[in-house]
């Protein structure tokens, strides 16, 4: 009953369908030898002690997490898949209690420090130290170290990253870190230099199509290659998204064809509406209406940067070629401000106002 995207998730390195080279490198890090021609992997015990700290980066939907899990499985065996969630409570210096979820197996644990916002440093310091200071007790374990996977590492605050860098060196006997990030931009250089950077590129359209094809086969759905192409394109090379779309299309239409519409996610529909509004009528009253919709998006947990990006792209589709550059320029300008400021709606609204103004000026100039 799960969604395809989870049901069909590859669990081992050899099951991964693309970036074969990357998979091979990961396997060799772990000490497995990947035989291009055979499907079996053979392990050499020696190499695994050299398993480094790693930083996986790449766009979402590229398969970073999947690769990490597969790597861990290769490291520890299937036990790593028996995971559970703990909630732990940390106390900040100001006596505030933070509840923090930890996903763990006996061999590894996964944390998302950005869950606790600005207190991520507390979590990093307390939790990592605690784990790092404890040696692996299970003599049967395949590795002497445990692995800590840190999600959204680019969202870590400076303080937290600084706390991390010392830990990485000091406790490397007992713990290995795997950081996950969308880009290395948010990661301080000392950390980058201490980790093995692993770039997981987004799959190409062809690769996505291939995945969709095989997924269709497994589900015994009749696939339409042209539609797969369309989905691949529509997904923006995000495999997760492509699979979810794929499933949605098939769930909603008994028979599919090349023409079958791909339902976009709810929030994208709303952003498209906003773009329509902005282009249709340019007035302070419309800004007010748009503000209400923007608030809707924000309250429903769509990040402001996503909103402004998608909105700008939607607007670019709708305006005259002469204006496209300007729209993008201002979108970038206000996106930067969103990052700098605190009340994002102000900047979104300013972008909308700016767009309406330049659009109106464009028309006034034409007249």
């Amino acid at each position: 009953m799960s969604l395809l995207v989870d049901k069909l998730r590859p669990r081992s390195l050899e099951a991964l369908t693309y970036h074969a080279e990357l998979s091979e490198r990961l396997a060799s890090l772990v000490g497995w030898f990947y035989h291009q021609y055979g499907c079996a992997l053979t392990q050499s015990q020696a190499a695994s002690a050299d398993f480094p700290h790693m930083l996986f980066y790449g766009p979402s939907g590229a398969g970073k997490k999947t690769r990490i899990l597969a790597t861990l499985r290769a490291l520890y065996g299937p036990g790593v898949e028996k995971i559970k969630i703990d909630a732990r409570v940390f106390q900040t210096s100001s006596n505030r209690k933070l509840e923090f979820n930890i996903v763990s197996s006996v061999y590894h644990l996964e944390i998302t420090p950005s869950d606790v916002g600005t207190y991520d440093r507390v979590v990093i310091q307390e939790l990592l130290k605690e784990i790092a200071q404890t040696q692996q007790v299970d003599l049967n374990a395949k590795q002497r170290f445990k692995v800590v996977v840190i999600n959204e590492a680019d969202g870590l605050s400076r303080d937290a990253q600084a706390a991390l860098r010392r830990t990485m060196e000091k406790y490397s006997n007992n713990v290995r870190l795997i950081l996950l990030a969308n880009s290395t931009a948010g990661i301080i250089a000392p950390i980058r230099s201490r980790t093995l950077l692993v770039r997981v590129a987004a799959p190409t359209h062809a690769e996505i199509c291939e995945v969709l094809e095989s997924a269709g086969k497994k589900e015994s759905w009749k696939t339409v290659p042209a539609l797969n192409q369309k989905i691949a394109k529509e997904s923006g090379r995000n495999l997760r998204r492509a699979l979810l779309m794929f499933e949605a299309v098939y769930a909603q239409n008994p028979t599919v064809s090349e023409k079958t519409p791909i339902p976009p996610p709810d929030w994208e529909v709303l952003i498209a509406q906003i773009a329509d509004d902005c282009v249709r009528e340019r007035s302070p009253q419309m800004i007010l209406q748009v503000r209400a919709k923007l608030y809707d998006l924000l309250t429903h947990c769509i990040p402001a940067t996503t909103v402004i990006k998608v909105l700008a792209l939607e607007l670019v589709k709708r305006v005259e070629p002469e204006l496209k550059a300007d729209v993008v320029k201002w979108a970038a300008f206000y996106e930067h401000r969103i990052k700098q400021g605190s009340k994002v709606i102000f900047h979104l609204e300013a972008f909308v106002a700016k767009f309406m103004r330049i659009y109106e000026m464009f028309f006034a100039g034409m007249m």
Partner: protein, 1065 residues
């Protein structure tokens, strides 16, 4: 006698015999008026002008008396001429006499007078026959006095007194005559001189109108008569005065039409383009086609400077949006020149200042009453052209008369006060003497000169009689009644309500804003009713204990004053009664715990009367006093009520404040009498003159800082007056607005800035207009965006609080400077707060969902929200909506497969947007109930339990349990693998079963050995037991599908596994 009284009238009649002549005269006069003013001095002009005007109305009646009047008027003329001549003669030395005046002392009176003006001490000596002395002063002036008079010319402030002295005369004729002995020998010429001086004064003061002068002159004339005849009876005089006062009224009624016409005419002729007709047309335009007129134009016109008090006695109504003037500005302008501003037009309105979008109701009234309407330019013209003191118009005359009357009253009051003061001083002296004598000591040397009363003015001028109370009189009387009847009521056990219903209360509660005399009233009433006062205020701690124990000593006792008295004082039996005044009851704060309740309890059973005083009766903490106290809500007195009192005080203190200034101060302080008195006391210290503007400025400076509500802040900053060129609001003023509530002001502005009718774009049309609108909106929006960056610097890690003013400018003032204009509709409350907290709530949902799905799905929160949620929605909500109840089980299975709970399902619905919006979800009721029923019928797998949910349960556990190891899992035994993993720590723990009840995820009936929890021994109160679900990834799909089944029993059938956290494995 009567003839003489009206001698001016006759003279005027002669002059204005023929209306056209009068017209021409009037026309001519101004020119004549203007010239001499420059050359010599104003006095003659005023004399000339006032005379004819006054006379016109009387003419028909008193035709017979004309000849006589002619005579006297000629003498008056002579007098004025004389004065003129003298003026001319002394003119060159006008400045020098100033010095001589002090030393002059030709007659005792003059010396006295000048002395009085300069030094208070001398004044005090004279207090006994104050009015008479003053009168005498005038008479005594004589030839010698002329220097003093001229000297007065130099000192405007003195003139005020002069006039009022004159006015006093008719009121106390007897006194005057009896005390006139000193002045017995004055000559007529002296009188004339006196007249002259008054005119000088009036003209120079520019405050008093022509009429008071004439009337005073009239009275002067009477005096002449009196003096001449040597022994005029008081009766006679009274009669004459009464007729004198009646006269003007008669005048008013009769020639109304001609008067008004004349007034109109004079204004018309004065103004080059006559606004009234033009405005009349306009008015009809407005009334008819009420199309939206472009709002206020920002173009600034120069605001003219007019003669002092030139709008006196005129009543203005402002309506609509003026071109350049703000409503308030305009009103202030009128007030500055002595005019009166009312809000609704009535028959008494002289002018309606009409702007765009005038209120239709007002227009109607205007039309009905045929009022004169002018526009802004008309008003300016009026100010520019009207003569000082409202000229000679009839209205001005009335006004002046009214004023004179008020001054009369004030004088009288002042005299009374003075008398009392004297009395008191004497009393003190006597007592001192008596006590000294009693002790056999030498009477101390009486201090030379009068004793200076060094009490605060507020105490000095506190009312000591019922009549002296300013405002709330009836209330104070009611309070007095209550207190008077208190013993009587006590005898009846407070069962009789009495006519005002206050009889059943043992305590009274006075409440109202500060400075309006609550405490004073309480003390006054106590004094009048002969109570000894025990006062208790915020300076005493009044906790429950102290109230109970401290008051015990008071409640059933009597005052010692009833039995003993100080040196030489008589024992006053009545003083035996005690009155407890609890001041500032609402000031009971945290330190006075339980004080209010205890106080209320005391008030219920007290055996002495209690008066409680507070500012805000409505505070929740004042609730205990409901139905316990008689309520006396004090209100702010009106300006009129206070004005005379303040004028009296000013007069007593020898301070010259023109009424408009006093009005400005009163209004500025919101009728806080205490503050007003403090203010004039300060003014006295500076000993300086004040004009309207300064008065306003001062009261503004003294203004109690009232914190504006966010709504008011926004409507104020967005008002066009704030930013037009004519605006006097400085950048600092605007920033100050922001600081009224720095947390809300900018949010409120952001909410509302697009709702204005932007004044800056009013000049454009069509496309250009639309573009300009967006330009302004964009400017404002970018500025708000800038402001947010500053905000981040303030509230972010940098904590640069010194940037607050910068933030004020960027996020508040500057945006408003783009979009200011009329705010159509209501000011909305900021939606940011609501949206922010909603965002917080929904993101918590997303976090929960992500936490639950975590075992199945990768991806962070954003991925979950943006990619998974639409898919989940399609799989659940949409399916239920489309296919009805048959698929309910499938949906439940799907949720279970992702460890989503029903709460999560609801959250998914709530998180929908656009096409998936919650509003658009229409699931049939049958489907819903089927879904709920099925869902509740079974247990569902749970990914984990939140520490917070469990925390409550564990908190109840014995402390011994806390030492238990770290981690614990409830493992489903049906899953072999899990057992494997967890078996190290398997352990049953039956005695903790109870705790499960607090666990919302675990259903009690299915309980076996329950999953339980442990507490972390470490410092962190860590999440205890979690019903853990293990994901068995390695298995095939088929197995996965089965999973929900066995897991359903999960929590219930879980055995408690206790493992050692990190060490495990």
């Amino acid at each position: 006698m009567p003839d003489i009284r009206n001698f001016f009238g006759g003279g005027g009649a002669g002059e204005s015999a023929a209306p056209p002549k009068a017209q021409s005269l009037a026309a001519k006069k101004p020119t004549g008026r203007g010239r001499p003013r420059k050359i010599v001095s104003d006095d003659e002009d005023d004399v000339e002008v006032t005379k004819p005007k006054k006379n016109t109305p009387v003419k028909p009646k008193k035709a017979v008396e004309e000849p006589k009047e002619e005579e006297t008027s000629s003498s008056a003329y002579f007098a004025s001429n004389k004065s003129k001549n003298r003026k001319a003669a002394t003119n060159g030395s006008v400045q020098t006499p100033k010095k001589t005046a002090q030393t002059n002392g030709g007659t005792p009176g003059s010396a006295r007078r000048s002395a009085r003006k300069t030094s208070k001490a001398n004044y005090a000596e004279e207090t006994d026959d104050d009015t008479a002395v003053k009168l005498d002063d005038n008479k005594d002036g004589g030839d010698d006095d002329i220097h003093a008079d001229n000297h007065k010319v130099g000192r405007n402030a003195d003139d005020y007194e002069e006039d009022s002295e004159e006015d006093d005369l008719p009121v106390k004729p007897t006194k005057r005559t009896s005390r006139k002995k000193a002045a017995k020998d004055e000559a007529d010429s002296d009188l004339e001189m006196a007249e002259v001086t008054t005119f000088d004064g009036a003209a120079d003061s520019k405050r008093t109108k022509g009429t008071p002068k004439t009337s005073s002159k009239k009275r002067k004339a009477e005096e002449d008569e009196d003096d001449d005849e040597e022994d005029p009876t008081p009766k006679k005089k009274r009669k004459s005065t009464s007729t004198a006062t009646r006269k003007p009224r008669a005048k008013k009624e009769e020639p109304e039409n001609s008067e008004v016409a004349q007034l109109l005419a004079s204004i018309k002729t004065v103004r080059a383009p006559t606004p009234p007709p033009r405005d009349e047309n306009r008015k009809f335009q407005f009334g008819g086609g009420n199309a939206a007129v472009a709002p206020a134009n920002a173009g600034a016109k120069e605001i003219p400077v007019g003669a002092e008090n030139c709008l006196a006695a005129m009543t203005f109504v402002f309506t609509g949006v003026l071109d350049t003037l703000g409503r308030e500005e305009g009103q202030n302008l009128v007030k500055r020149y002595g005019g009166k501003v009312t809000t609704a037009p009535s028959s008494k309105t002289n002018f309606v200042v009409l702007g765009a979008e005038a209120g239709p109701k007002k227009l109607e009234t205007i039309k009905k009453l045929n009022l004169k309407t002018i526009d802004e330019d008309g008003l300016f013209q009026l100010i520019r052209t009207m003569p000082a003191n409202g000229g000679d118009s009839k209205a001005a005359a009335q006004h002046a008369e009214k004023k004179a009357k008020a001054e009369d009253a004030m004088k009288k009051e002042a005299a009374e006060m003075e008398k009392k003061e004297k009395e008191r001083q004497r009393q003190v002296e006597r007592e001192a003497k008596a006590s000294a004598a009693a002790r056999g000591m030498v009477v101390p040397e009486k201090p030379k000169g009068p004793k200076v009363d060094d009490r605060l003015w507020v105490d000095k001028y506190a009312p000591d009689t019922m009549t002296a109370v300013c405002g709330n009189k009836s209330l104070v009387e009611k309070l007095q009644n209550w207190l008077r009847n208190w013993p009587k009521r006590q005898k009846h056990g407070f069962k009789q309500a009495g006519p005002d219903g206050n009889g059943i209360f043992r305590a009274a509660m006075l409440h109202g804003p500060p400075g309006i005399g609550k405490t004073t009233a309480a003390h006054l009433v106590a004094k009048l009713e002969g109570y000894d006062v025990v006062e208790n205020n915020a300076s005493d701690t009044r906790s429950k204990k102290l109230v109970e124990s401290g008051l015990k000593g008071v409640l059933d006792t009597t005052s010692l004053l009833g039995y003993f008295a100080g040196d030489g004082k008589k024992v006053d039996e009545s003083k035996r009664k005690l009155l407890l005044i609890m001041d500032e009851v609402d000031g009971m704060s945290a330190g006075d715990r339980g004080g209010v309740g205890a106080m209320a309890a005391v008030a219920k059973k007290t055996n002495i009367p209690m008066i409680l005083i507070c500012n805000d009766r409505k505070l929740p903490k004042m609730k205990p006093f409901d139905f316990v106290c008689a309520d006396f809500p004090f209100r702010r007195p009106t300006t009129d009520m206070i004005r005379s009192r303040i004028m009296t005080i000013c007069y007593r203190e020898g301070l010259k404040l023109p009424p408009p200034v006093i009005d400005a101060i009163i209004e500025g302080s919101h009728a806080d009498i205490r503050q007003i008195i403090n203010m004039i006391s300060t003014i006295k210290l500076d000993n300086k003159q004040m004009d309207h503007g300064e008065g306003k400025a001062m009261s503004k400076a003294w203004e109690k800082h009232i914190i504006l509500k966010p709504w008011d802040i926004v409507s104020k900053i967005l008002r066009a007056e704030m930013f037009t060129n004519a605006s006097t609001a400085t950048l600092n003023d605007k920033i100050e607005l922001y600081f009224n509530d720095h947390e809300f002001s900018y949010l409120m502005l952001q909410e509302n800035y697009l709702k204005t009718k932007m004044a800056r774009v009013s000049g454009y049309n069509g496309k250009e207009h639309a573009l300009k609108l967006l330009e302004m909106a964009d400017g404002a929006a970018s500025s708000i965006s800038d402001g947010d960056l500053v905000d981040r610097m303030i509230h972010g890690s940098q904590q640069q609080w010194s940037l607050m003013p910068t933030h004020a400018v960027f996020s508040f003032v500057r945006p408003a400077s783009y979009v200011y204009g009329n705010l159509g509709g209501q000011v909305g409350f900021t939606s940011w707060l609501g949206n922010n907290s909603k965002q917080g709530k929904l993101s918590r949902y997303v976090k929960d969902i992500q936490g639950h799905m975590r075992l199945r799905a990768s991806g962070d929160r954003h991925e979950i929200r943006q990619q998974y949620l639409p898919a989940v929605w399609n799989k659940t909500v949409k399916v239920l909506q489309d296919k009805g109840k048959d698929v309910a089980q499938d949906v439940i299975d799907f949720l279970d497969s992702y460890y989503l709970t029903k709460d999560d399902y609801d959250a998914v619905i709530e998180l929908g947007l656009g096409p998936m919006d919650q509003e658009n979800v229409k699931i049939e009721t049958a489907t819903k109930s089927q879904f709920t029923r099925l869902y509740n019928a079974k247990d569902h797998p749970i990914a984990f339990l939140k520490a917070s949910t469990i925390g409550n349960a564990t908190a109840k556990m014995g402390s011994g349990k806390r030492e238990k190891p770290d981690l614990e899992e409830a493992v489903d035994d049906s899953e072999d693998e899990i057992v494997e993993v967890a078996d190290e720590g398997l352990e049953g723990d039956d005695d903790e079963e109870l705790d499960l009840k607090k666990d919302k995820y675990i259903k009690a009936p299915k309980k076996r050995p329950a999953a339980k929890t442990k507490a972390d021994g470490g410092a962190k109160g860590k999440g205890k037991g979690k019903a853990k679900k293990v994901k068995d990834e390695g298995d095939s799909e088929g197995e996965e599908d089965e999973e929900p089944g066995p897991k359903k029993r999960g929590p219930a059938g879980a055995t408690r596994g206790r493992g050692r956290g990190r060490g495990k494995g």
